[in-house]
């Protein structure tokens, strides 16, 4: 069990070996992404024309000298086989391996479990990206801060409103040095509006001993002692609150179990991003994620996007195999998947239309996700409710009831001609023949 920790050789090592780990979770973790995760693992769900995890990979590929990416999760190996095959062609300089946990070990537990694989090739440091965030992943900036400060850990942080902050891991930092002074996960009181983005850069020689001592501490004293707020024990930043495994002792998470101690004793810094950041937690959050990645692609002049015109309000992604009638008006922030058919006089805005879906003539789709092979009838209206640009939630209160702001049709749903669907989540294979609002349709 001895660790092979390389000596830091920063003085001369401008090409210090760097790796990246993407935490992809597992099938029992994606429940909040239902009904879309009933048919596809969340990391493979496409926003802005690419799987969520592809956006992570693209960011990693921009960091010089990263040669290996480990995806850690507890999905079956077959789940990512095709994705890895395709991504390996697209990013030939990077070796992508999938490391499967057979039980959920927690984010820190997973890293520790696969430490030998991660340490292979003796990387001095490695990035950890949670796959369920949508952001610009300023990894090179984090790396620069890491080197400038001779850091042992760098966390990506972003500012949110004071109300929203307590739903996240909160960071207190030194304004001048960016050093993390205090870290607390989902505090009850207001501590800071600088929050954890779920993206880290760790020195290998620091993080594994830290996890190991956390494990040791765990066995020596119960977790409660170190956390005055007992209510926060089971809650977490990135995962569901209702998973039994999380309550088991072997689960060890970066957010709850590691970061707080790092803040006490280590060279732990925060890189504050001013760029976009969102969680991709609920299925509805795929819509803002889609919008943000499309905007990023638009700003960086991506050739993948549809050319703007009177009927294309950028940014819009249309898969080359999709058929969109020229009289349909699309955008902004619309993705049309492979082989989808969009009829004459259709309007689509702030929405995702998935593979093989069909939108018939004169229909209107706003703030919605149209599932794989779903059909929307002529003059139908499928509509969600816009949420404020800087909002970190995808639910809204209507008539005193919490409903999803984004309307989601699961796989192979049908909306009849002229039918209106508003703020609904519709599970796969349902036919909607009458107007419906503010409901979950089983």
């Amino acid at each position: 069990m001895s660790l092979q920790i390389p000596h830091r050789s920063k003085a001369n090592g401008s090409h210090a070996a760097t790796k990246a780990v993407i935490l992809v979770g597992g099938p029992s973790r994606g429940t909040r992404f239902r009904p879309l995760s009933l048919d596809l693992p969340k990391p493979l769900f496409e926003v802005a024309g690419h799987p969520i995890v592809w956006h992570c990979l693209t960011a990693i590929a921009k960091v010089p000298h990263i040669q290996e990416v480990c995806m850690i999760g507890y999905y079956d190996e077959s789940v990512f086989r095709d994705f890895i095959k395709d991504a390996s062609k697209e990013f030939p300089q990077i070796k992508i391996v999938y490391l499967r946990e057979y039980q959920a070990l927690g984010t820190a537990g997973g890293l520790y479990h696969f430490r030998d694989a991660i340490l292979k090739g003796r990387p001095e440091r490695f990035f950890v990206l949670n796959a369920d965030v949508c952001c610009s992943f300023p990894l090179n900036d984090m790396l620069k801060l890491f080197e400038d400060r001779d850091a042992e850990a760098v966390i990506l942080g972003t500012r949110v409103s004071e109300d929203a902050a307590s739903n996240f891991g909160c960071i207190v930092s030194d304004a001048h040095t960016s050093r993390v002074l205090h870290y607390v996960e989902k505090p009850e009181s207001h501590i800071s509006n600088l929050i954890n983005c779920g993206v880290y850069l760790f020195a290998t020689e620091c993080i594994f001993p830290s996890i190991r001592s956390a494990i040791k501490k765990r066995t020596e004293r119960p977790r409660l002692v170190s956390y005055p707020s007992s209510e926060n024990l089971e809650s977490s930043f990135f995962q569901d609150d209702d998973d039994d495994e999380e309550k088991k002792n072997e689960v060890l998470r970066l957010e709850q179990d590691i970061l707080s101690d790092l803040a006490d004793s280590k060279q732990f810094f925060v890189y504050e991003t001013k760029d976009f950041w969102r969680q991709i937690k609920t299925a509805g959050s795929a819509v803002p994620a889609n919008a943000l990645y499309l905007q990023k692609a638009w700003q960086t002049g991506s050739k993948e996007l549809a050319k703007p015109s009177a009927n294309i309000l950028p940014p819009v992604f249309i898969h080359p195999t999709a058929h969109v009638d020229p009289s349909a008006k699309l955008g902004p922030n619309v993705s049309i998947g492979p082989r989808a058919v969009v009829g004459a006089g259709v309007r689509i805005k702030e929405s995702i239309v998935l593979e093989d879906a069909e939108i018939k003539h004169d229909a209107c789709v706003l703030y919605s996700i149209i599932g794989w092979s779903s059909r929307v009838g002529a003059w139908a209206r499928v509509e969600g409710t816009p949420t404020p640009v800087n909002s970190h939630t995808t639910s809204i209160i209507k008539n005193g009831i919490k409903v999803q702001s984004i309307t989601i049709l699961g796989k192979e749903c049908g909306v009849g001609d002229e039918v209106r669907v508003q703020n609904c989540v519709c599970l796969p294979f349902k036919e909607l023949k009458r107007d419906v609002a503010n409901e979950v349709i089983m």
């Binding site: 309007r347 004169d362 003059w379 008539n399």
Partner: protein, 383 residues
Amino acid sequence: MKGKFAHSPDNYRLSLLTQCTALILVGGFGTRLRPLTLTLPKPLVEFGNKRMILHQIEALAEAGVTDIVLAVNYRPEVMEKYLAEYEERFNVKITFSIETEPLGTAGPLKLAEEILGKDDAPFFVLNSDVICDYPFADLAAFHKAHGDEGTIIVTKVEEPSKYGVVVHKPNHASRIDRFVEKPVEFVGNRINAGIYILNPSVLKRIELRPTSIEQETFPAICADGLLHSFDLEGFWMDVGQPKDFLSGTCLYLSSLTKKGSKLLTPPNTPYVHGGNVLIDPSAKIGKNCRIGPNVTIGPDVVVGDGVRLQRCVLLSGSKVKDHAWVKSTIVGWNSTIGKWARLENVSVLGDDVTIGDEIYVNGGSILPHKSIKVNVDVPSIIM
């Protein structure tokens, strides 16, 4: 008694050449039909592309009426212009009888006594909100035939418990015994349709004060056994509020269809769906629309491409842009509905309202000159 006679109305017109008079109870500002009546007085609002009052004046003139009194409690100047035109067109004399205080439904008759009682000929009284196939000539003939003091038109309803029901004398088809207001048990299914023919002697029964013809005058005539009912054939609707205005439009258009009216757009027109579509010749209809059933489109209306219209009224000068979907809605004069907008559930747009592109309006009552840029999700009044 069924109101069917072998004679044509023209025969009656000849037979009724004695200057026949009618009183139309217009009353107040028509607040129930707001926001439309914020712009025009109710009698001037178009129903089936024809001003409400014109339906009545036309039918009255047809039956030989030469003198029409409008009982109003305000005098909208805008009406004068139209009424002058109608006077000339139908060769009738139209006078305003203005109440300085509301006189109910009977008081206005007394106020107009000078005109209504100028000779012995019976006169018509009608509520301005009532739309039907006015059977004035048949009503007059029936009234003359029985020779008593008054005849009221009655219409059959499905749920009599909501109305005042007419009960006849035993073994008599038309003589009214009494009225029962909102009967709990079934006593009959005929209700007062708001159209009457009365002998001038009735005026002696009315005092000049706020008083109700239904609750005071008629029971008194009934007590003397001098009041008869006359069954209305076909549709009837009090269109005094938006919901009923739309229902009444459906009934009116259906009746036009039944009569084979040339006014209707032929049902085999490609964009017509389900019939009962009345489009003014000056209106423009775009490509790939689906219109109907029960749609009225007024003069100078512009309907864009791919528009879906059903059970709605587009008043003159309004505009429905491409791909919009409109159902159970009254679109006020000069209003504009944006592309991909969706309106339904008895929405009423006043004059010059703008509904933005992609906006949804559910039962919105929108006052004139408003511009709507966010959804109206639940029925509400937009001031």
